[in-house]
């Protein structure tokens, strides 16, 4: 079973979840551009029913950091 956060990224970026891990970032994932970043925020907020602040969003530069931000909001990911 694929990790639920990884799955959100894979769906939005339209890539195989197997190529993603917590170190994935716009630097090593070609599909992760600014447009995708916008779609990712919407998808994460919808999937985990949270609201992210602009500062939190700016910190989410890797999947691992996104996970951390969500955990800080008590989302079990």
């Amino acid at each position: 079973m694929v990790d639920s956060l990884i799955q959100v990224f894979a769906d939005v970026l339209e890539i195989d979840p197997a190529v993603l891990n917590d170190d994935s970032s716009p630097d090593n994932v070609q599909e992760w551009d600014s447009l995708s970043a916008m779609k990712l925020v919407a998808a994460i907020e919808e999937k985990f029913n949270v609201r992210l602040s602009t500062r939190e969003i700016m910190k989410m530069s890797t999947i691992g950091r996104a996970r951390k931000a969500l955990q800080n909001k008590n989302v079990p990911v």
Partner: protein
Amino acid sequence: MALDPKSHWRQYLAAQKQLPKVEFDMRVAIAGSMTVEPLEPYLGAHLISKKFKPCIAVAPFNQLRQICHDYKQVLGRNDLDAIALLWRVEDLFPDILAACLDNPAPVEDLLRELKELAGSVGRLRKSFNGTLIVSTPPYPLLPGFELLDIRQALEGMAVFSAVLQFWTQEIARLERVRILDLHGLMLSLGTKHAHDSRKWLLYRQPYTETFWQEIGRLLGRILAAEKISPKKCIALDLDNTLWGGIIGEDGLQGIQLGDDFPGKAYRDFQQTLVCLKKKGVLLAVASKNNPEDVYEVFDKHDAMILSRKDFAALEIHWDSKVESIRRVAKKLNIGLDSIIFVDDSAKEIGEISERLPDVTCVVVPEELAELSDLFAETDFFDFAEITDEDRRRTEMMAADSARLEIQEAMSEEEFRKSLNLKIEVFAAQKQHLARVTQLINKTNQFNLTTVRRTQDEVEELVGSKDALVLGMDIKDKYGDYGLVGVTILKKKAKSCVIDTLLMSCRVLGRGAEETLIAKLAEAAKSLGCDEIRGRYIATSKNAMVKDFYRHFNFQHEPQTDEWFVRITEAPRTPENIDAILLL
């Protein structure tokens, strides 16, 4: 569980990729003065739910003028069915808009910019053949325009009202540019729920997902309205639908209808029905009652808004409603699939849905406050254009009924003579395009080829040397039917080929068909042709014209499956009909 729109769209795209070749039937480009990417899945999912195979292209950020100038180059394709342009004043003219709050306010400067922008839209309208949709600008999100400022009505709101009014007038003057009312939609949702200032700061994307979803739905409805026929008739129950209570038991004074609850809910619903009637929707009654009780309400109750003459058909008796609805369809000559049936009784609704599954059933809501908005969120009455024929429809139906009564009292021959039928077959001009296109796209039964066309395609044919687009107007002593028939002829050497021939079923059987063929023969002669040729293309609905050609002296040519008639052998106009051809 229903899939959320984004997953739905994602799955659709993934499935399309697996197919070797996809025939899209709705290719749309969306463009905005702001980031519009979030609209794609919502619009896509709506179009899929309406049975389209959509393909959506998102234009580069803020390229509206470039698109107007050369859409093929900016969008990289010329096979689009529709282009939608979404814009905000604060994106395109931020400085002039801000300056409008100065004293004196240079609003004129801003309107001049708007006029130029509307001019660009007008040029795109000329170069682009598909559906063109332009938004209204929503109330600006800009410092100085805060809605909660106590003087805003005199400042930002005053400026914006001028902008909105000016823009809407400019766009309405262009022909056939559809308006996506982004401002109205934002009013409906509320500016607070529509805006997401985080995304605006981070991505130049101003709106919440909820608002994008609403935009997707409205835009989808506008697009679908170009291709899907609206419903034509609402068949209404009376007791506890048009008024509260039961007339047969409660009596004229006992039913609930007036200015207080619950009577006001029913009165408001009647008002909604009047508005729909003005758009061309036919109203009918399907009620189990004694007719005299009902007529007493219609004729004597002070609070009734609807009167008997607002209804194109009245089925008031104790027979089943299935029978009533069938009779309404027959009398109004419409398909069961274009009827909405409204009733408060689950039993009646159940019976109609079971036995007449093509009819759309709507139950009177338990919460009466929802009654007057019963159709507000549906696409039942999404008219792309409203023509004069639409507005006069109920009156025309009344003339039909008068004819029918006379007809029953006379022999067929006498009746035809008594009608004083006047038929005009004429080359369609610009002012006829909307109605001609409407008939081309909605006529199912008396339609030989069922070729559908957009208004631009029709306009192109009107301007073409080798084609003739003919309209047919019919009048008789009971009234004017209006433009009820369309023929498109194409000249091929010495042959005049029938590309399209259709007629409204309301006018059949009085010699109009024969007259049309006679006039087509004249038209063909004037084009220098000596025969008329045509094909019958069968659909599930046009069996009634299967033998049309044979009936009017055409010969079948097996090798081409075409029918032809020499113009000298075409039928003549029947004696009692006064017909002319105007080319």
